[in-house]
């Protein structure tokens, strides 16, 4: 029965509701939330995202139903709601629809966003229950969900960009949620500004892609990237793909916190913990990985871009992991861990293991959300505000049993303990890198990239296991180090300053531990969706559910490990993964289990430790290299502003205003006759205007017909000479309304005429512009060499043509001498010295489509009631059909 309902239900239309429901929740809570009680706000906030989740599940089940049999082309669920707007590109309209696509890639992301989003909404009910701005929080959170869903469901780049900017905005709003604290507001600003740099990259990349592929749709862009339609003015497809992908990747480094733009994410922990879990761990920060996967067919066209992605991802994973080792605050550690794990994902994308990278997105969403929520639960329990210093915690295992067990499970997952979710996804990534390494004849990427990524990630994985268990041991084992704290303020905010925390912590409410349990189970189980295809050592095959799902949505780089059998790579990856986990956890156990001090702080060289603790001093580096010059420039600008602009604007302007007001006040005499005098002058001016008629002819071209319309006025009468032969055809005898001497006028304000070649008075060459208005080039009897500036760069096909074509008019035809350009007319390349074309012909110079348009002339005489006559002559470029056989092949 359920299936029947699905069949009768337009699942495609539902995609809109998946987005609109959270948006509606945001609007309702944002506008009316402050007047409603908390239960109502919570119901709206959680209910909308819950319904959205339900719809997403329905859509996903439908999608699974639709998997094609055999080699049939896979068609995802998609729906185009309406055309938003369209741009004019090389004489063609490129529409931009509000269109959503639900395939395996966006489907999984939608499930993650709505599912984990729902859990975090529920968690927030408890976590934010004492906050003043409860409704505002839920409004932002719902708005974020809606934006993120737009981002993942978008079927084209501009719609995705709406979501991209929307999540950036919500991130900014939520990081600075407690904006009363200046530091938090500054963190929000930092995130926003850093993301702007990335957004600039996305925009440029988007423009390049649309210029190259001629479409904004992901499907069309991806298809054109491997079907050879990837061209722009003589550039090579690979170069274009490299440039576009690097710009897109710049955007991804901003949104997904990669080197060099990762610095905002650790500061973003200023926001409430559920925000950190949802936005800055599970969903928004993975948008970059998602975008790379979405455009994977384009990325694989460019080995350079892939290598850059792989190297940047690996370096980020390593750097962030080393920083995380030396941090003291829970959320800071988790933040750097997130940066590091995002590096893993990008490294996977860079070596072509898109499915593995995206699998890590999926599993990471569960265990990292669980870790953040667990940290939030700990902070809630001990009354920490903002962040919690792990050296003032400890022994919470028995106090917070549910939080403890879920936190432990998630730590195991992220550290890569076998059979936990993180183990499978991390193993896939290492496998991808190792496969690239062992493939001795890989034509795609160099094997050294593979080994570099593999080595870097193995070290990063070791560090991950180490710092995560350092965090776990310091927080949950040993003695509670704030037990004797003198501060009795309960849960009052006092940060991680001199004082300890609440002396008697308590377990969090069920609304918080419930989501923790669900996420903890997820952290263990979701990895089983991606069981390895090939088991290590035995070489046994397992079905790879995850890879099969994603296959239609991703580009596939086929690795052919010619040097040995595929089992080698699997074994290497497995051994590296397991030993990294074992070494990391073992070290952490020996150093931190039941301890309260930090052996690294005392054992490692002090300079190295402080270097790590200061986050490699990257912020300081940016301050010195970027901020200082900018500030200097700003100071210069400020000086110019104050010395010149302000003087101009304030002194000069105010002087002018004073002067003119002085003059104008003289006019306000209060003497009535003076006003009458001025009024009379105005009336006289009006009279002058009405004295002679104003024809104002507006031609409307409809192919060979032109309809002229003249302006109306008091007592206007008209007569028309439509073909410039000196006789006025309109009005003809019976329609005349009055006759003055030899002139006959009629009252019709419009006249139309069908023009034949006898009426043509000249020719114009009309070039379709890449953007905006067409370019019109007037022609004459004398040959003119076309101006390359006017034609734009596309007139050259190979880039070496020196002289553009020359054009002249001869009788009723246009003669084109191609010179060294490629001119296509009558459907083929012009090989003769000259070609004669009649009016209406289509031709193409290089990539620029053109047509030859005739010009006609019409004259109007208007007589008004004063007996005065005015005459206006207009030239009109008309559009005639090409004579048979003269229609040229139009570009693409």
């Amino acid at each position: 029965m359920l299936e029947q309902i699905f069949d009768n239900f337009a699942v495609e239309r539902m995609l809109l509701w998946i987005v609109l429901l959270p948006l509606a929740g945001a609007v309702v809570n944002g506008l009316f939330g402050r007047f409603a009680d908390r239960q109502m706000v919570g119901l709206v906030g959680v209910g909308t995202i819950g319904l959205s989740f339900f719809l997403a599940v329905v859509a996903f089940l439908r999608l699974l139903d639709m998997q094609p049999e055999g080699d049939a082309e896979f068609v995802p669920l998609q729906y185009s709601f309406y055309e938003w707007f369209s741009i004019h590109l090389r004489g063609r309209a490129v529409p931009i629809d509000i269109a959503f696509v639900f395939d395996a890639l966006s489907g999984v992301m939608t499930l993650v966003v709505t599912g984990i989003g729902l859990l975090i909404h529920i968690y927030s009910l408890g976590y934010m229950s004492h906050d003043r701005s409860f409704a505002r929080f839920f409004a932002y959170l719902n708005l974020f969900s809606a934006s993120m869903l737009v981002l993942v469901l978008a079927g084209n780049l501009p719609v995705m960009f709406i979501g991209w900017e929307g999540v950036g905005l919500c991130s900014y709003l939520l990081i600075g949620f407690w904006y009363e604290t200046p530091a938090y507001a500054a963190a929000g600003r930092k995130a926003f500004v850093v993301n702007r740099i990335g957004d600039f990259g996305v925009l440029i990349g988007m423009f390049i892609l649309v210029a190259v592929a001629g479409s904004f749709d992901f499907a069309s862009i991806n298809h054109s990237s491997y079907s050879g339609a990837f061209t722009l003015a003589g550039w090579e497809a690979g170069t274009l793909a490299t440039v576009a992908c690097l710009f897109i990747f710049l955007g991804c480094t901003g949104k997904s916190a990669q080197i060099p733009l990762y610095v905002w994410l650790p500061d973003a922990m200023a926001g409430p913990t559920p925000v950190s879990a949802l936005i800055h761990a599970a969903t928004m920060v993975t948008a970059g990985v998602y975008l790379c996967c979405r455009l994977s067919p384009v990325f694989v066209q460019s080995p350079v871009a892939m290598s850059v992605v792989a190297v940047v991802g690996t370096l980020t994973a390593l750097v962030a992991a080393t920083i995380a080792v030396a941090q003291r605050e829970m959320k800071k550690i988790l933040a750097y861990s997130t940066v590091s794990q995002l590096g893993f994902m990008f490294a996977a994308v860079g070596v072509g293991a898109f499915a593995a990278g995206f699998f890590h997105v999926f599993t990471h969403a569960f265990f990292k959300a669980c870790l953040f929520l667990g940290a939030g639960s700990v902070m809630h329990a001990v009354g920490a505000h903002g962040d919690a210093d792990i050296f003032k915690l400890g022994g919470l295992r028995s106090i917070l049993p549910r939080t403890h067990i879920t936190f432990l499970l998630s730590c195991c997952a992220i550290a890569g303990v076998p059979m936990f979710s993180g183990f499978f996804s991390k193993d896939e990534i290492l496998l991808g890198a190792a496969q690239l390494g062992v493939a001795s004849d890989a034509a795609f990427l160099s094997p050294s990239i593979g080994w570099f990524v593999f080595g870097g990630l193995a070290i990063a994985a070791t560090l991950t296991a180490f710092y995560m268990f350092r965090l776990y041991f310091l927080t949950f084992t040993g003695e509670y180090r704030s037990a004797g704290a003198s501060d009795g303020h309960g849960s009052e905010a006092h940060g991680s300053g001199e004082h300890g925390y609440d002396a008697s912590p308590h377990e969090s409410p069920a609304s918080m531990t419930g989501p923790l349990v669900v996420l903890g189970v997820g952290a263990v189980c979701v990895g089983w969706l991606g069981l390895p295809h090939l088991l290590p050592f035995t070489g046994a095959h397992l079905p790879h559910v995850w890879g099969e799902w994603l296959k239609p949505a991703l580009a596939h780089v086929e690795f052919t490990p010619a040097g040995g059998d595929p089992l080698t790579a699997v074994n290497i990856a497995f051994i590296a993964g397991v030993s990294a986990m074992a070494v990391g956890i073992g070290l952490a156990y020996s150093m931190y289990a039941n301890k309260s001090s930090d052996p690294i702080a005392s054992g490692a060289p002090a300079s190295l430790y402080s270097f790590l603790q200061d986050k490699w001093r990257v912020d300081e580096l940016y301050a010195a290299v970027v901020l200082r010059p900018v500030k200097g420039l700003a100071r210069i600008c400020a000086w110019i502003d104050q010395t010149f602009v302000d003087v101009l604007l304030t002194k000069v302007t105010s002087g002018l205003v004073t002067l003119s007001s002085f003059i104008l006040t003289r006019a306000q005499t209060g003497v009535m006759h003076a006003y009458g005098f001025v009024m009379a002058l105005g009336v006289a001016g009006l009279m002058l205007w009405f004295w002679s008629p104003h024809p104002d002819v507006m031609p409307v071209v409809k192919g060979q017909n032109v309809e002229f319309t003249a302006g109306r006025g008091l007592g206007y009468e008209y007569r028309w000479d439509l073909n410039a032969d000196g006789t006025f055809e309109v009005p003809s005898g019976e329609h005349a309304s009055s006759t003055f001497g030899s002139k006959t006028f009629g009252s019709e304000t419009s006249a139309s005429h069908r023009y034949t070649p006898d009426d043509f008075r000249g020719f114009i060459l009309v070039a379709a512009a890449i953007l905006g208005e067409d370019i019109e080039i007037p022609l004459s009897e004398h040959a003119v060499v076309l101006d390359p500036e006017v034609l734009g760069p596309d007139w050259q096909v190979s880039g070496d043509a020196a002289l553009p074509p020359a054009v002249r008019v001869e009788g009723n035809e246009v003669v084109i001498r191609p010179n060294s350009a490629a001119v296509y007319a009558r459907g083929k390349l012009v090989s003769e010295k000259e070609v004669r074309l009649p009016a209406g012909s289509r031709l193409r110079i290089g990539q620029v489509p053109m047509r030859i348009a005739p010009v006609v002339q019409a004259t109007l005489e208007v007589r008004n009631a004063f007996g005065n006559v005015a005459r206006e002559t207009v030239d009109v470029t008309i559009d005639v059909a090409a004579p048979a056989g003269a229609r040229a092949e139009v570009v693409r």
């Binding site: 209060g670 009535m672 006759h673 006003y675 009458g676 009024m679 009379a680 009631a865």
Partner: protein, 102 residues
């Protein structure tokens, strides 16, 4: 010679000019009010004359009707002001009513 819109327009402009001159030159508030009535009437002539030129509808006459109604309202309020001014200043000379000047 027949009569058309032009003649009525010419008459209306003469009447309007007369009214305007009267309003500007005279300092007697009563006569200024009458001059305003002259100007309103001049406009009414134009409305009615043009309506006669396009006689399918009554729009011009309807407007003239409203102008008459508004003129009545204006006269009532204006004359009330005359009486009020007379109470205050014992005169109806507008040059004497300059309390709000500058």
């Amino acid at each position: 010679m027949s009569i058309g819109v032009g003649e009525y327009l010419a008459l209306a402009s003469v009447l309007f000019g007369t009214g305007a001159v009267g309003f500007l030159v005279r300092r007697n508030l009563l006569i200024q009010l009458m001059s305003i009535e002259l100007m309103l009437n001049a406009v009414n002539v134009v409305w009615v004359a043009f309506n006669r030129f396009y006689p399918e509808r009554h729009d011009g006459q309807i407007m003239a009707f409203f102008v008459v109604a508004i003129a009545a309202a204006e006269a009532a309020v204006g004359l009330a002001i005359v009486i009020s001014l007379y109470r205050l200043r014992k005169t109806v000379e507008t040059d004497k009513a300059d309390a709000l000047r500058h």
